[in-house]
Subunit: 167 residues, 2 copies
């Protein structure tokens, strides 16, 4: 197996996250508050608010795909201030991820990833995907989920896991 099945899981979960935001909007409408106030919610004063968690989940997904495969990565300037805009960001990234095939992930052991803040160090694209992009994706994905739960949105483990492939 290549990294591709794990990449597909990331893509699936990004779509799953979009469903949470739909439920958040419905919850706010029922409770008669502006759903966009949720976007400033934090679990700790020195953690990023919900909007940044959503943006970072999107970023880690595109970095996982783009850097593992050596492809160009689209830029997103983090200007979203509403749930509708956040959902458009998610849709934009999913559309980018849809352009990848299993073949794109071939040879990731032989590719190199280096980020400016690593000061000249590098990782293989495989190690980058597994040890950096994957846990970072789940960090922001789960923190987004936790923030919504913390604010009373009615989502549960099935919403977290998304659709499961039974035989």
């Amino acid at each position: 197996m290549s990294l591709y099945p794990i990449a597909l899981e990331i893509k699936k979960l990004l779509g799953t996250m979009d469903g949470w935001l739909d439920k958040a909007t419905a919850h706010a409408t029922a409770k008669k508050f502006d759903a966009n106030t949720l976007l400033q919610s934090r679990l700790a004063p020195d953690m990023f608010p919900l909007i940044r968690q959503i943006q970072a989940t999107c970023d880690q997904a595109k970095y996982a795909f783009g850097r593992a495969t050596g492809k160009d990565i689209p830029s997103h300037p983090d200007t979203e201030t509403t749930l509708d805009e956040a959902r458009k960001r998610i849709a934009s990234v999913i559309s980018y991820l849809e352009g990848f095939t299993a073949k794109d992930f071939d040879g990731s052991d032989g590719r190199t990833v280096s980020l400016p803040r690593w000061e000249g160090k590098s990782m293989t694209a495989t190690a980058y995907f597994i040890e950096h992009a994957l846990p970072n994706f789940f960090f922001h994905y789960t923190t987004t989920y936790a923030l919504l739960r913390h604010n009373g949105i009615d989502i549960g483990k099935r919403d977290y896991l998304g659709a499961i492939t039974f035989r």
Copy 2:
């Protein structure tokens, strides 16, 4: 690649989580409160408290390894009530995970996983690992981290990612 590199990442992160609990104890000592009170902290009244998040992180790690490979899985009765006991649970599971080799993960596409609550349905061991155990592991791992941050423990992204394999 097989599932093994992802399994190694799970094992690494479980050890990383142990370091958070060490910092939590040090923080409580400095602030002169009983560190074990942290174990009852929740992010929402209908989410599990910290102790259950730690136990579940351990469980998902052992399920990922044991079920993907078709090996016996040790039982842990969830009786921990202190951070010291929680850390012994982590050590016990890491010791179990240390017994696995890359070869154990061969052939996961051809193995089947079925849980009682699935009512007769099954997944390939590969799909179970990627779509069930991996996200569930990260769910509880990240919620444990978020609960500690929510309670003021001084941990950050480096504590979350653990040691990174640079070339």
